[in-house]
Amino acid sequence: MIRVAKAPAYATIQDGGRRGFLANGVPRAGAMDQAALLSLNAMLGNDPRAAAIEWALTGGQLELAGSVVFAIGGADADVTLRDHPVEPYRAYRASAGDVLSVKAITRGRFLYVAFSGGVDSDLVMNSRSTYLPAGFGGVDGRRLKTGDTLSSGKPKARHLPQVSDSLPSEMRPPLDSDVIHYVPRDSAGTHQLSGQFSISPASDRTGFRLVGSVGTEGGSITSEPVCPGTIQLPPGGEPIVLMADAPTIGGYRILGAVTTADLGVLAQRMPGEVIRLEPVSVKSAQSQAVERAEVIERIREWALG
């Protein structure tokens, strides 16, 4: 049992997101930094689609009742268990009554607190992900609040992590790269975006607005399917990168889409931070996605000892 002793300003339950419902207008949702969640699930011997707590903005506390194995990852944060510092990407076993305290997020945007067996909640359209705009998934479709209790699923004994070391840094997902690759819609390059942009404060789980000079015209189009990562350019001229809660259809000009490998890196950027957008071929983006999947497998093997 996990009790939210002091809820942060933002915390929701998220997993790999919804598949198979896009044609019904249901967004994928899921963790903003999928690479962080996948790494934690692999470390903890969890199903890749297991859910965790996505945590942002402020500190807070969880009270852990009963023996539970957990790990944190994603954004860097000042976190303690029984007043001892908790390292990222390292499995800890808590005992009944232990308090996990997040003092502050120190670098990046989204912290993940993952538990062996995953955080349990009702499946809504095959996923535990909270989709706040329509209020479903997770705990009643809302942010966690103080007093909520969550349970973790039953871990299989043979899948319990065997090591107490931190995940070697070369296997951890990158947090602070400022280069974000995207696959351009137009491979001829006439409508490509390149260069530096800063993350606008008007950025959330639905989309990140970018501020910077755009060398091409925005506009309206006959609405087309879009997805997390899609870069839209409205007539107003400020590019928007759609994020985890991306709508399924959009009517602004599409310039391309951020790669699967780099979308989590972008998700961790704070308002005001500067990124550089660089075009990349679909082939090279896909080989990067395959490499990342191989790293996740290596983490799984590493955790088994």
């Binding site: 705009p133 399917p225 709508p247």
Partner: protein, 217 residues
């Protein structure tokens, strides 16, 4: 109809464009082709999403690469035995009561040169068809709006449109089922629940359904 144009939508989806614009025959063709691609059961494909004149195929790049998906999609498009539209096209008519009190109603009236009452009369005179669903759960793109009411989307979208807002943009109209960002012009409000994740059919409107808006005092 033009030859299909296929382009990547990032590294885990591709877009098939079959033409441009909002047209009933084109929309039927998109839905038929989406069904043909779904029916082909391509390994690694998770979603096939129809829009007005295009559709997207979502896949797992760890299971299948772009070139392979592209080839299999082309083969499915060429298959002559594309299934018929599911559900009776046009057999369901929804009547949606609307209070025409939208924040942008006066602005739309001013921009189109009509009175508020004329805008309301024109918007509620047409039996619309659901062309696509999407954008957010339960949002249905309805057409075709009276040409005289056609105004482009807002240059800067609102960050939050209230749920139940009835809105228009270009030749389209629709109802925001939940609070969301949005670039359409708000002309009214309805209390009908457009989407409920706990219902057997979460979305009220499906592609091919007909919709009438009925003005409330």
């Amino acid at each position: 109809m033009t030859d299909p144009v296929i382009a990547p939508l990032g590294d885990a989806a591709l877009t098939v464009s079959l033409g441009d614009g909002i047209d009933e025959a084109l929309s039927r063709s998109v839905v038929m082709n989406a069904q043909a691609i779904s029916g082909a059961a391509i390994m690694g494909v998770t979603d096939v999403v129809p829009a007005y004149a295009s559709l997207a195929v979502f896949y797992d790049p760890v299971i299948i690469g772009y070139d392979d998906v592209r080839q299999r999609v082309l083969a499915a498009l060429a298959a002559p035995d594309a299934g018929p539209l599911s559900g009776g096209e046009g057999s369901v008519i929804h009547r949606i009561p609307v209070v025409y009190d939208g924040e942008d109603l006066d602005d739309v009236a001013r921009r189109t040169g009509f009175s508020r009452n004329e805008v309301i009369a024109m918007h509620s005179a047409i039996e619309y068809r659901v062309f696509v669903t999407g954008f957010i759960p339960g949002f249905a793109y309805l057409g075709i709006l009276d040409e005289r009411l056609s105004v482009p989307r807002r240059e800067v979208p609102r960050r939050r449109v209230p749920p139940g807002s009835v809105a228009i943009a270009e030749r389209q109209t629709g109802v925001y089922p939940a609070a969301s960002p949005g670039g359409w012009h708000l002309i009214g409000t309805t209390s009908v629940t457009m989407f409920d994740p706990m219902r057997d059919r979460p979305a009220l409107l499906s592609v091919g359904d007909r919709v009438r808006f009925e003005p409330l005092e």
